[in-house]
């Protein structure tokens, strides 16, 4: 936290009320609170502002209940601001700690923000779908996103506002951590890996795809595969640098029409330097919607023993251009073409060959390992899901241009 920034903010606040504060004094007071007494910056700012306001006999600055009465738009608030907003409670979530009275999302026409009402301040309970004026709340930062913190000094009053609130839809590729609304198609659903989760999968729109999750909670419905939804006020989380949508805060309504899902298309060129175990002929769980790979004993991690498996071909490997090593995953059609072997042939070979399914692994490995390819597809989970793959061919023009680059006299 940059204290001179805070100093500047406090000074300006006081100056706009006709005082001439000493910036050095402000900063040293802040520093004393922060450095010597371990007060957090937001609280130090509040304390110093209030103290100075009292000294200069200014009312309406920094003292709780009457401060920052200027109405702000939710989209323009920033961490460490003291704000007054008017918004509609568009989601209420279960507080994760008993020290929180209420958590949820509040929105106005400009945007939406998560809020926490702390139990210590005994805030009045807000109701879902109602409008409130929230005065003197603090914006803090939680997991990299702004968060509206309602504390003991905050005043909440219900207001009558009868304007319909339409959340603005964001293209998936432009989502940022926080709160977001999308219009998207369900392109993939996965059965929940454990019973705390209701559903997980992939949502897509023209701009790209994003993972979504719905945690198990009363009144939550699953999404239907291939359906298009308007998802209002989902929580956008960032985890390991990847975004995902948590739909528990969201209202989702099916929508008409279809969406041509964008592919976040990327292309990679390089040599296939590694074929990972689990490539080749594999068995998949036949339970609808599962599709997991079975172990050698036909065991599915979720559905136990599945003697009625179905076969599939795939290739997990590393495409390496000498600078970056990219994980790639190729599905059946791509593998069939590259290795020159169809799934049916592979099954036949595996069932009659002494090496069984390993034989297919070796055949595919011998056909593709160490060769140069150009792969196109969509990137997901740090892995390229390959839609198209072509073997690179020798370009005499490339040789000529490299010879030029190397210069020098002919050997």
């Amino acid at each position: 936290m940059n204290l001179s920034e805070v100093t500047e903010r406090i000074s300006r606040k006081l100056e706009s009320n006709g005082a001439q504060p000493d910036r050095q004094k402000i900063e040293s007071r802040l520093r004393r609170l922060v450095d010597e007494f371990g007060v957090n910056a937001a609280e130090a700012e509040r304390t110093v502002t209030a103290d100075l306001a009292r000294e200069y006999h200014i009312t309406g600055v920094g003292t709780s209940g009457s401060s920052s009465t200027e109405l702000r738009q939710i989209c323009e608030v920033a961490p460490n601001d003291w704000v007054t907003i008017e918004g509609k409670v568009v989601a209420l979530t279960r507080p994760v700690s008993p020290s929180m009275a209420q958590t949820g999302i509040i929105a106005d026409s400009s945007g939406a923000i998560r809020f926490v009402a702390w139990a210590r301040g005994n805030p009045p309970a807000m109701e879902y779908g109602e409008w409130y004026r929230i005065e003197s709340a603090v914006i803090d930062e939680y997991r990299g996103t702004p968060n509206l913190s309602i504390h003991s000094g905050t005043t909440i009053s219900q207001i009558e506002k009868d304007i319909p609130l339409l959340p603005s839809i964001t293209p998936i590729a432009e989502l940022k951590p926080g709160v977001g609304s999308v219009r998207a198609k369900v392109v993939q659903v996965r059965e929940a890996p454990h019973d705390r989760m209701l559903q997980a999968g992939l949502l897509g729109d023209e701009s790209g795809t994003i993972r979504f999750v719905i945690w198990n909670e009363e009144g939550k419905d699953k999404l239907e595969l291939d359906a298009v939804y308007n998802v209002f006020y989902a929580t956008v989380d960032e985890y390991n640098g990847r975004l995902s949508l948590v739909l528990n805060t969201a209202m989702y309504i099916t929508d008409e029409g279809d969406i041509e899902v964008g592919k976040n298309e990327t292309g990679v060129q390089g040599a296939l330097v590694h074929i990972a175990p689990g490539s080749g002929l594999i068995k998949r769980c036949p339970v609808e919607g599962c599709n997991r790979t079975l172990s050698r004993q036909n065991y599915c991690p979720v559905h136990e023993i599945q003697p009625e498996f179905r076969y599939d071909l795939r290739l997990k490997g590393v495409l390496d251009d000498g600078v970056h090593a990219k994980n790639v995953l190729m599905r059946r059609e791509v593998v069939e073409r590259l290795a020159g072997i169809t799934l049916d042939e592979a099954v036949q070979i595996a069932e009659t060959n002494p090496l069984g399914m390993d034989e297919i692994f070796y055949r595919i490995q011998n056909a593709v390992l160490g060769r140069y390819y150009t792969c196109g597809g969509s990137e997901f989970d740090g892995r390229l899901l390959v839609d198209s793959c072509t073997a690179s061919t020798f370009e005499p023009a490339e040789l000529a241009s490299l010879l030029n680059r190397a210069g020098g006299e002919p050997a």
């Binding site: 936290m1 390991n240 640098g241 330097v273 074929i275 140069y372 210069g407 020098g408």
Partner: protein, 192 residues
């Protein structure tokens, strides 16, 4: 304050550097990146890049089975600039069996780890411990020569501007024009 991600993002796999035999032969400087027992061993190539994995394509001209209790295979892979020495032991059974199956001569693609050895008389040898080896065709070999030429020229373009290349300059006194000549010679041997 940025939130600290609970887990570091997964470490990216080390890319397999493209290097000509005559450059690898000159490699002398090896270091360990980190204190850990499992920290990777890197070499610094004379054109100025660290590497713990290389990708080579050439002609396997010779292979030998050695040892009786601990069997291992040695081989020679030739590119337009010289010879790579490769080895695969029973510690890498997959690689060893792959190498055992290949009859020389053949074009092969090798992914492996460069290793430095000092002989009792003080000479330094570089050999490549094979991770995988497969038979490929002539076109793949030609593509590799182009690829390796491009990467080597890219490294020479950046020479002197990166930490690794400054280290290479210090250790080897690399003369970039010499390696340009090697690249040129390698390219001239590719038949149209």
């Amino acid at each position: 304050m940025r939130p600290q991600s609970k887990f570091e993002p997964a470490r990216e796999r080390e890319p397999a550097r493209r290097v000509f035999a005559s450059e690898l032969r000159e490699t002398r400087y090896q270091f360990k990146d980190g204190e850990d027992e499992k920290s990777p061993n890197f070499v610094i190539l004379p054109t100025g890049i660290r590497s713990n994995r290389i990708f080579i394509v050439g002609t396997l001209t010779e292979k030998q089975r050695q040892g009786d209790q601990n069997i291992f295979y040695r081989g020679r892979v030739v590119d337009p600039t010289g010879t790579f020495f490769i080895s695969a032991s029973s510690f890498q059974p997959e690689a060893m069996q792959q190498l055992a199956r290949i009859e020389a001569p053949a074009f092969v693609a090798v992914v492996g780890k460069p290793n430095l050895y000092t002989t009792p008389d003080g000479a330094c040898l570089v050999s490549v411990r094979v991770e995988s080896i497969t038979v490929v065709d002539r076109e793949t070999r030609d593509l590799w020569v182009l690829d390796t030429a491009r990467e080597t020229l890219d490294r020479l373009d950046a020479f002197g501007t990166t930490d690794d290349s400054k280290k290479a300059q210090e250790e080897y006194g690399t003369r970039p024009e010499l390696y340009k000549k090697i690249v040129y010679d390698a390219l001239s041997q590719v038949q149209l």
